[in-house]
């Protein structure tokens, strides 16, 4: 089976190479046979990659411990879900998983290109297959998941495997990597279309619509991936937080930020034919950051708790990135004549300008994260000094930028396309500003003394009011015209322009998340050694340790502490933090217990035993408003899905230009 698996990988590599040659040669020589052959090779590459993936999964599910990969990441007792997750639990399997998703996307992109953009289809196929050939080359020659265990010249086997890291054995972790990979890999599709449009010198923007849809879907996957990563960190890692600015976490955030910038700036191209070069740069940067992120997790370039084992495949990534960036720059520079702006900016006070500022802030934030991630490497290379850049740096640099972005989230949609009059500004800004500042005064009166948190709440109120007013005004008009209920009118309004109102929902999601982020300014924490009968006070809460029970099963030995949670003497419920010691790895793992409420989470960790007294060490975190982050995540998914639904009213974006004017005094009577 290992031979068959490797053969499938090797053939997939060769077929993807053939697809590139056939697609490009077919296009250049106008040989339709070759072009179609290249297209079928894309399907062939997918079939071969699927075969390899299927064989690896079969080996994992049947406990074939002759394979080194299976022996490293699976055990006989591992639950089925985590056996499945073992596919992407290690370096080799995850690269094959990456390649399989890429091959699947390749087939979908090839189909889309054939249907909608036949003039670009060969180039789209060539780009997708170039990326696939690179990854299959790595799987084939540097990270083969079908390697067998050898004892001298003989293939050998072990009785049981080492199993997936216990921290990764969590339902969220079974979904998080696929979501993230669907995001990472998905950005290669809009990139392929962008490059194909450059090569084929596409004058129109039809492909932009296709790209935008792909980007939105991919962005949604990436968002879900990042959110699930946060949720996993919160539920499993037991430090009371959800984001530690670890390099690998940052790697997932970087393409999300540039993808967000692209989703905004692409509207300028759709509506006004502007920012064509910029959009190509943004989507290319997003793709390169995806590759860069993949490199970060595998090369050992930076230290990370999430990184896979260090290997030499980072060198291949560096070469691939260098060549791809150089090729893209050359293409952009050589096609500048085809990327000229079709219209002008009419006013600084316009939606177009707000998009420019939005892009600058998003890219500044992206740069800050990238810079902070790489600064230890740069410092060590230039000064020889080993330093670390952690949460305090990222918070200091990113919080002001994030608040500015939050402001723009509210302000931007209030500007009209082309030009915003002063009267319109007054009308749109007055009440949101007044009401949000009034809220600020109330917060201050109630004792809020944290500057950034205060600003965040005021801005959240501002953005919320602007969004509510937008929905309210539109819904009222429809309600009066169509005699609908207000809720029905709001649905009708959204259906008429799903993109706009779906976008507002996503903005609302961001507001909800920021409320959750701001809550961290008021976190409280306590820690002490405890015995049964002891009580720990943190904030308004009392935690009374009622019981400590031990248990053992085939996978682990556990100790569960039972706590009564009280506030002002009133019993609120029970929390049961647990500590497990897995038999296979002998790694102690704390399983936090969380009481979630909209106002605050109470989070208890069984942190271990005191070395001197052998008493349990208990850590308690009170995290205000944290649940709003997850609620924001759900609203973000809803908003993006709404934006993906086709609008009831079909819109076209005719390019308008001023050809002349009629003086005011010569009013035309109609």
């Amino acid at each position: 089976m290992e031979n068959l698996g490797y053969l499938a990988i090797f053939l997939a590599f060769l077929v993807s190479l053939y697809a590139i040659v056939a697609a490009v040669a077919g296009k250049l020589t106008r040989n339709a046979f070759l072009e179609v052959s290249g297209e079928r090779a894309v399907l062939g590459a997918w079939l071969l990659t699927t075969t390899a993936a299927g064989l690896l999964l079969y080996a994992i599910l049947t406990d074939d411990f002759r394979l080194s990969y299976v022996a490293s990441y699976s055990t006989i007792a591992q639950p089925l879900l985590y056996k499945f997750a073992a596919w992407w639990g290690g370096q080799e399997g995850s690269l094959l998983f990456w390649s399989w998703i890429l091959a699947t996307y390749g087939v979908a992109a090839s189909y889309t290109a054939r249907k909608r953009h036949p003039e670009m289809r060969s180039y789209v196929n060539a780009v997708m297959m170039t990326v696939l050939a690179f990854f299959m080359g790595i799987v084939c020659f540097a990270a083969n998941p079908f390697k067998v265990l050898m004892a001298g010249p003989q293939i050998t086997s072990v009785a049981d495997g080492q199993g997936l890291n216990e921290l990764l054995q969590h339902p969220v972790m079974a979904i998080h990597p696929p979501m993230l990979y669907l995001g990472y890999v998905g950005f290669s599709v809009p990139f392929a279309f962008a490059i194909a449009s450059l090569i084929s010198k596409q004058p129109g923007d039809r492909w932009i619509n296709t790209t935008r849809m792909w980007t939105m879907v991919t962005w949604l996957f990436q968002s879900c991936g990042v959110m699930l990563g946060m949720l996993w960190a919160y539920e499993v890692l037991g430090w009371g937080g959800y984001w530690a600015w670890d390099p690998v976490e940052n790697a997932s955030l970087l393409p999300w930020i540039t993808g967000t910038a692209f989703l905004h700036s692409v509207m300028m191209q759709e509506k006004k034919g502007m920012m064509k070069v910029w959009n190509i740069v943004l989507i290319s940067a997003t793709f390169f950051l995806c590759i860069f992120g993949t490199m970060l997790t595998r090369s050992g370039l930076v230290s990370s708790v999430h990184a896979f084992a260090q290997s030499n495949i980072g060198d291949y990534f560096v070469w691939f990135l260098t060549l791809a960036v150089a090729g893209t720059i050359y293409l952009i520079l050589s096609r500048l004549d085809y990327l000229k702006s079709e219209s002008q900016l009419d006013s600084v006070l316009s939606r177009e300008s707000s998009f420019l500022f939005n892009n600058v802030l998003l890219l500044a934030s992206c740069f800050a994260v990238l810079w902070g991630t790489l600064f230890p490497v740069i410092t060590e290379a230039l000064t020889g000094e080993k330093i670390t850049v952690g949460k305090p740096f990222f918070d200091t640099v990113n919080v002001p930028i994030a608040l500015f972005l939050l402001l723009l989230t509210g302000v931007g949609p209030l500007f009209a396309w082309r030009k915003t009059s002063l009267a319109s500004l007054k009308k749109n800004f007055l009440w949101p500003s007044v009401l949000s500042l009034a809220l600020g005064a109330v917060l201050l009166a109630f004792g809020m003394r944290h500057l950034y948190a205060w600003m965040c709440f005021v801005l959240c109120a501002f953005v919320t009011i602007t969004i509510v007013i937008e929905f309210y005004r539109g819904s009222k008009v429809i309600q009066s015209k169509m005699q609908l209920s207000f809720a029905g009118a709001a649905v009708e309004l959204t259906h008429r322009n799903t993109r706009r109102y779906g976008g507002y929902l996503v903005h609302m999601a961001i507001v909800l998340m920021f409320i959750g982020f701001a809550g961290s300014a008021f976190n409280e924490r306590g820690q002490r050694e405890m015995q049964v009968g002891d009580t720990l006070q943190v904030g308004d809460y009392q935690f009374h340790m009622r019981d400590l029970a031990e248990d053992t099963n085939v996978r682990f030995t556990s100790a569960v502490a039972k706590f009564d949670v009280l506030r002002d003497g009133e019993l609120l419920g029970e929390l049961t933090p647990e500590q497990r010691l897995y038999h296979t790895s002998q790694q102690p793992t704390g399983i936090p217990s969380v009481r979630r409420r909209l106002t605050e989470d109470v989070y208890i960790v069984f942190a271990g035993y005191s070395r001197e007294t052998r008493n349990p060490i208990i850590q308690v975190y009170v995290n205000p408003l944290l649940s709003w982050i997850w609620i924001g995540g759900w609203v973000l998914i809803l908003g993006t899905l709404v934006a993906l639904i086709p609008s009831k009213v079909k819109r076209i974006n005719p390019r308008t230009r001023i050809v002349g004017s009629v003086p005011k005094e010569k009013k035309v009577a109609v």
């Binding site: 420019l356 740069f367 902070g372 410092t379 740096f393 600020g440 942190a607 009213v649």
Partner: protein, 166 residues
């Protein structure tokens, strides 16, 4: 006028509230464990798991580094040393790698300045881009003759579209 007055009041209120907030002292807890934890926030954990956390937030049970450093922090606090002094002492002992952010001197300054420099450059470029995009516009639109019937046709079309829209 009403708008200007309200805007001025709003600005004044914002500045006043911001001033109060900045001037407010941060409340500190007396609990020793919390004080130790807060000092640990400024120290990078050097545990064998190669984690990206601070001494305070490292999730590793029995983290060897945390168990080594926390008693030293507690001793320092009990001796009456300021948290910043304790951090300095520990950094002198374990090296600069204990830092959680670049120093505000030497090459570390580049680390701090670069993101803000990039932001500044970006914000400075926006007006330039706006001006460039506006420059290509014709100086003054030409006065043109407008056929009243055509205007009526377009006005009707706009009304119809607006009716369809809402």
């Amino acid at each position: 006028m009403r708008f200007k007055t309200l805007a001025a009041v709003a600005l004044a209120v914002t500045v006043a509230l911001g001033g109060i907030l900045v001037a407010e002292e941060v409340k500190t807890s007396d609990q020793m464990s919390l004080r130790v934890w807060k000092v640990g926030e400024d120290l990078k954990c050097l545990c064998p798991a190669n984690c990206a956390y601070t001494v305070a937030s490292c999730n590793m049970l029995h983290c060897s580094f945390r168990e080594e450093v926390n008693p030293q922090i507690q001793d320092g606090l009990e001796e009456g040393l300021a948290p910043t002094r304790i951090v300095e002492v520990l950094r002198a002992k374990y090296g600069a790698v204990l830092r959680t952010m670049p120093q505000a001197e030497g090459f570390g300054l580049v680390g701090w300045a670069m993101p803000f420099f990039a932001l500044g450059i970006g914000l400075a470029i926006v007006p330039f881009v706006v001006r460039r995009l506006r420059k290509s516009q014709p100086d003054e639109p030409q006065e043109i003759a407008v056929d009243a019937a055509a205007v009526k046709r377009y006005t009707d079309q706009i009304d119809k579209d607006l009716d369809d829209l809402v």
